[in-house]
């Protein structure tokens, strides 16, 4: 019943690949994801593509359609002319796994480095009181479906692998903003943290992220700019800044800690900016000393059922993976000197 349309779909994996041509039937009312599914069902069952809800709610089906980052399930075929060839490629900013599926673990790593909600001390569950107007600002950012289109689009990391380490990306700027605007969040330095450790300084407010957001979240206007503005205020006002610092200190040592609030310590090494360099690195980060993971009796756990990892703790600290990243090492290669 439908007409044949021409498609180019990127096929391949991390070793390389190219655009393959397909002719495929398209029916009235279909979206790009339907066409991908038809290709799977009729021509190439192993074409890899993520999806879940088909209604723009889960953020799985992100891809680049004619070069624009979009959700496959929300891109209607009627937006193209009949004789137009539709080109579908994987997200460019993330490493390809296969075909349209990319390795988006970058985003989950950044999510883990963003300090979590700090519940207000002394407010028991059921006693949280907030006004609708006060939660609405944060609610806008909580609409995020984690499609990572904004992350994919941001020029700071698109084609700039080297910035990925220091830059959390727009998705996590809105997370920081959301918590900053949360009426009951107990952590006071979200803005400073975003500036110092999430790489917000790299953002030059191009608004490309806002343009591609399928949830129409005003990422730049409502999150990044307010976060930057006030950081600037605080930075340029040494008194306010100093006051905050002192306040932070005793919060860290006292109340915040007692309530089990995650402190910055865990995330300290992550976001900080380390330059690419060769040879001697005086600024390398010294790994923090670690306590052995003992149980309540103060002993190392022996049974595997109760141990929190297989085998004993590493003498070098459990967060070291080998080989160590070269930029953290003091080694000068003779030929490069």
């Amino acid at each position: 019943m439908g007409a044949k349309r021409r498609f180019k779909v990127w096929r391949g994996d991390e070793t390389g690949g190219d655009l393959k041509d397909y002719e495929v039937e398209v029916n009235e009312g279909e979206v790009v994801l339907d066409v991908i599914h038809r290709l799977q069902a009729t021509q190439t069952p192993d074409l890899a593509c993520r999806w879940n809800c088909k209604a723009g709610k889960c953020g799985s089906c992100s891809m680049e359609i004619n070069g624009t980052p979009r959700l496959g399930c929300m891109t209607r075929m009627s937006t193209f002319t009949e004789d137009e060839t539709v080109t579908v490629t994987p997200l460019r900013t993330f490493p390809v796994i296969r075909d349209l599926v990319t390795d988006v673990s970058f985003n989950y790593e950044k999510a883990r480095q963003t300090p979590a909600f700090a519940p207000p001390v002394g407010v028991p569950p059921g006693q949280y009181r907030m006004q609708q107007v006060d939660v609405e600002r944060s609610q806008e950012f909580r609409k995020c479906i984690e499609c990572f289109l904004c992350q994919n689009t941001c020029h700071v990391v698109r084609d700039h692998e080297e910035n990925k380490r220091a830059f959390a990306g727009p998705r996590y700027f809105i997370r920081a903003a959301e918590l900053d605007m949360h009426p009951l969040d107990a952590k006071e330095d979200r803005k400073e943290y975003a500036q110092a450790s999430m790489g917000m300084g790299y953002c030059n407010i191009t608004k490309c992220c806002t343009e591609v957001c399928p949830e129409h979240i005003k990422i730049t206007d409502n999150a990044i700019i307010p976060m930057k503005e006030r950081v600037v205020d605080r930075r340029y006002d040494p008194l306010v800044w100093l006051g905050r610092k002192i306040f932070r200190r005793d919060q860290l040592d006292g109340a915040g800690q007692a309530a089990g609030t995650p402190s910055l310590v865990g995330a300290r090494t992550e976001g900080s900016e380390v330059e690419q360099h060769h040879g001697l690195n005086w600024h390398r980060e010294i790994p923090p000393p670690q306590a052995a993971p003992v149980d309540e009796t103060g002993r190392l756990p022996i049974s595997e059922i109760t141990a929190d990892r297989a085998g004993g703790p590493s003498p070098f600290g459990d967060d070291q993976t080998f080989p160590l990243p070269p930029e953290g090492l003091n080694y000068a290669h003779p030929e490069r000197d």
Binding site: P45, R76, Q139, I305, R309, D319
Partner: protein, 636 residues
């Protein structure tokens, strides 16, 4: 066998990263257990993300007369008294705490004027009871739990230096088999979707939270993940399933364009004034009010229309009948040739409300139809039809501990994959709260179970070899059928023969057709390699869909009455003697066995929450006599 298998050791492995799975994992980690979370899709994408309406909990924020007893009554009524009473009781009692707890994890629900969590009305709930965030409550729930897990990982990192030391998420990993040591759970075997490499999780306790089975139907609001994996894994491990004949068909799914067939149109469209019309432009629901509801529903359009503004002096329009009634009515209109061009009926708000009001009250529906169907619902009617939405049936569990019944030990189940809580029909909003209440219980009791174990169960090499072989079979086979064709055929059998309205002859035929499909699925082959190969993944899922479909078809044939999500044309009414029976499925070799099992009996103080006239619609004469005796005693 030379296949490389990655091995992991955990105390508790949670299969499923929806609301139930994440809540279970949090509890197990808080109990100090080393916990793994496994999910077929990426972290945070599970089906729970799609829930719209809200989570039911009798917090009494909007109407202070609400309490757990009222919620309990509503739940039992909704399930037509087939619910496991203890589960319904625990659910009603614990739901508020579970919701409040989410706020301490950072959730931001919509608020009332005095700053509490706002609650909305929903079908079957006596008072406004659904905690919600616009129409994206599921997203809020899953994101909150996801972020709580991240926060626990941050604590662990601060303490041990590694995020993953106590709780780790294995995304895009599918479990294909549970491995036992005797009757005890010893591990779970599966593959990474990304690489196709195999992985073995050795663990003494496993929590199933894999969701539902809707993908066996062509028209469904469910995603590709819903292939009944958990149901099938449990069966194969020696657990039992109950209530598999009960499937909820939501009356209003989109039917056009074909690509979005099944996607949900929220109940609030009707709640806010939308009406259902057939191709002749007639509001047909007035012809479908069953006798038991006759008194509560309007008889004329005028009266129905007045209800929206004056609910105290008018009866509600029949468009707001329970989901099963509306679904059946639409089905019948279409069958008798009064359907819309795309095979549904018309749902119209455009002629009832001004455009601004529609956009304000139903923003996401307006957006959804505009983006997906190119229909402006402020100007034209929508086309809608029934869509397979939720499976009430699932793993038979102990209500307090969520431990699976049957021969297996160390297996727990929570969420949509478990059965009993919702009886024959689930009320909207009761699922999200169910996930939290029983997810927590499952995680807690899985942790306790591992403490009591004298030795750690071991995985047998031979079982592992078999699991590998089964998983690789579709790739190694040549010339078998395409998995997509088989899936379509299975969907056709289930949709046509085990659909909303069921008949003896058709159900019998479905069993014959399913047996044929079983042969064909045994020979399915998948082209391509092991890396992210959806054809291969589907080929492996088919086996689960098939066995679960068989359970549904068998139980549907056995139950000779109509109740909630099970309608038999040849037995159109509810029969009290069937209310005392649960149909229990188990697996003998690869054959599905069906048994009758008596329903647990409600405790006296609970049954006395109902009045006699209501009970008389559901109970047998002996049960009523017993109730009267109780009432007499209480009166003394």
């Amino acid at each position: 066998m030379t296949t490389r298998i990655e091995r992991h050791h955990y105390d508790v492995v949670v299969i499923g990263a929806g609301g139930a799975g994440l809540r279970a994992a949090i509890e197990s980690r808080l109990a100090g257990k080393k916990t793994a979370i496994i999910s077929k899709s990426l972290f945070g994408k599970a089906h729970t993300v799609m829930a719209e309406g809200g989570a039911a909990a009798a917090m009494g924020n909007v109407n202070s007369r609400d309490n757990w007893m009222v919620h309990y009554r509503d739940t039992m009524r909704g399930g037509k008294f087939l619910n496991n009473f203890r589960m319904a009781e625990l659910h009603a009692k614990e739901a508020p705490d579970r919701i409040w707890e989410l706020e301490t994890y950072g959730a931001l629900f919509d608020r009332t004027k005095d700053g509490k969590i706002s609650q909305r009305n929903f079908g079957g709930h006596e008072y406004p009871r659904l905690a919600h965030v616009g129409d994206r409550t599921g997203l809020e729930l899953i994101r909150t739990l996801q972020q709580k897990i991240v926060s626990l990982q941050q604590e662990d990192k601060a303490e041990t230096g590694s995020y993953d030391s106590r709780i780790r998420v294995f995304a895009e990993t599918t479990i294909t088999e549970l491995l036992l040591d005797g009757d005890r759970v010893a591990g779970a075997f599966g593959y990474y979707r990304e690489t196709g490499e195999f992985v073995l999780f050795e663990a003494p306790a496993i929590v199933l939270a894999t969701g539902g089975v809707g993908r066996s139907y062509k028209v469904t609001s469910n995603s590709w993940e819903y292939t009944g994996d958990g149901h099938a894994l449990a069966l194969r491990a020696g657990a039992t399933l109950i209530n598999m004949e009960f499937l909820q068909f939501h009356p209003t799914g989109m039917v056009w364009p074909p690509s979005v067939k099944g996607i949900l149109v929220t109940e609030s469209v009707r709640g806010d004034g939308g009406v259902l019309k057939n191709s002749e432009g007639k509001r047909f629901m007035f012809n479908y009010v069953p006798d038991v509801f006759r008194k509560q529903y309007a008889e004329t359009e005028e009266e129905g229309d007045r209800w929206y503004t004056d609910p105290d002096n008018n009866r509600r329009p029949p468009e707001l009948l329970p989901r099963d009634e509306v679904a059946r009515a639409i089905n019948n209109e279409v069958k008798e040739g009064r359907g819309s061009p795309a095979g549904g009926v018309f749902l119209d708000v455009s002629s009832r409300l001004p455009a601004e009001v529609i956009i304000k009250k139903l923003p996401s529906m307006h957006h959804q139809f505009k983006e997906l169907a190119g229909v402006d619902i402020t100007k034209e009617p929508m086309e809608v039809g029934p869509t397979c939405h939720y499976v009430m049936g699932g793993v038979e569990v102990d209500p307090d501990t969520a431990a699976a019944a049957g021969t297996v030990q160390g297996l727990f189940a929570a969420g949509e994959v478990s059965g009993g809580m919702h009886g024959s029909n689930r009320l909207g909003g009761n699922s999200l709260s169910d996930l939290l209440v029983f997810g927590k219980r499952a995680g807690e009791h899985a942790a306790t179970y591992t403490d009591a174990l004298p030795t750690r169960p071991r995985v047998a090499q031979s079982d592992l070899d078999t699991a590998v072989e089964t998983a690789l079979a579709p790739l190694q086979r040549d010339g078998g059928e395409n998995p997509y064709t088989l899936q379509q055929d299975l969907q056709a059998v289930m949709g046509d023969l085990v659909g909303i309205i069921r008949r003896k002859g058709e159900l019998e035929e479905s069993l014959v057709r399913l047996a044929e499909l079983r042969e064909r699925v045994g020979k399915v082959s998948a082209a391509g390699g092991r890396r992210y190969n959806p054809g291969w993944h589907l080929a492996l899922d088919l086996r689960n869909m098939l066995v679960v479909s068989e359970c549904t078809a068998k139980a549907a044939l056995e139950r000779e009455e109509s109740r909630g999500g099970h309608t038999r044309e040849d037995f159109p009414s509810m029969r009290p003697e069937w209310r005392q029976v649960n149909l229990v499925c188990s697996l003998d070799g690869d054959k599905v066995q069906l048994e009758h099992k008596p329903l647990p009996k409600m405790r006296p103080e609970l049954i006395q929450l109902f009045d006699r006239t209501e009970l008389s619609k559901y109970l047998t004469d002996e049960e009523l006599a017993e109730f009267d005796a109780l009432a007499e005693e209480a009166a003394k």
